[in-house]
Symmetry: C2
Subunit: 199 residues, 2 copies
């Protein structure tokens, strides 16, 4: 009894519902403050379902990280490989990560706030992927510096951390109801980066 009525309208698959519920709750309350019970209730299932699809609560968090990392890396790669001058490639990449981050503010909040809740191995894995991302971005900055279109006054590593600091920070202050659209914020932040890099 009490099974889902068999209309032909497809229901969202349970694993996705669980991930969506977990993402929202982790962002709102933090990982440790969110009980597995809350997640399954929000997703309309029970613990049995969650542990059928995921090995642990920690696993759920890891899935959220993997999704974000994959998305951002793909987008960065696309911009970095474009057939454009390096200034434009960097600007586009810098602006895009801002837009994408704002579009997934919950993910971003979790990302930067809950890394230390991952198990050591999963944490290491995430760090490694994160480093790849960082290095790809840094390569863009270095390319411009070598070509002389960017100032070399600041080490490329620091430039990258400077920019990602601001991205990281977005989930702290950006509110959709605010005066600026995501694209406007992205343009401004990319502009600040490029202005700082003027020779």
């Amino acid at each position: 009894m009490a099974t889902v009525p068999k209309t032909e309208q497809t229901t969202t698959p349970v694993p996705q519902r669980l991930l969506a519920a977990a993402t929202r709750l982790f962002a709102e309350q933090g990982y440790d403050r969110t009980s597995v019970q809350e997640i399954v209730e929000a997703a309309g299932v029970t613990k049995g379902a969650l542990y059928h699809y995921f090995g642990s609560k920690d696993d759920l968090l890891h899935e959220i990280y993997a999704r974000v990392l994959r998305l951002q890396q793909e987008r960065l790669d696309a911009h970095a490989e474009a057939d454009e001058p390096v200034e434009k490639r960097l600007r586009d990449a810098a602006a895009d990560v801002v837009v994408t981050t704002i579009a997934n503010l919950d993910d971003a909040q979790i990302f930067f706030r809950s890394m230390h809740h991952l198990s050591p191995e999963k944490n290491k894995q995430v760090r490694a992927e994160r480093r790849r991302y960082h290095e790809r971005f840094r390569a863009l900055v270095e390319e411009g510096q070598t070509a002389g279109v960017f100032s070399s006054a600041t080490p490329a590593d620091l430039v990258v951390d400077y920019h990602f600091g601001s991205v990281h920070h977005l989930s702290t202050w950006y509110r959709p109801a605010g005066p600026l659209t995501p694209q406007q914020v992205a343009d401004h932040l990319a502009d600040l980066l490029l202005r700082a890099l003027r020779p």
Copy 2:
């Protein structure tokens, strides 16, 4: 029995020992992962002592926040009021907050990672003080923009968030064992800010 031996060498007062232990442990493991039991053991006392001086675990966290906020606000005020051109005042303030943050990386880590663990009222209070700090800093940027020594291309608010993003981010990547001294990092980051603001 087992009282501290009564040599005349003054022992650090218990409340300070508790705060120091809590700061270290919160930074290492996160607020929720640190039990009150761990804190009192690290401080060499028992729960009775902790709850004698602090109303709750949450209170302990709030004290840490208050300490950081007071320190940073004092230093910003000093720089902002100095008798110097606005470029120098902003640069000094921007560099100083970096140095101070690196000198108290544990505090910084807790600050940005654990705000949501504070009770709603305490959270509101901290946000209010934080806003005062932000506005003081913004006033410096605006002063320079009005005077024409800084570009007005970017709203001052965004400029401030851009810089504090990088400060916020420090606890993620800065390691004392790294190649750069705190002062060098501070100079670079302040430089990036000022370069971005060149008209």
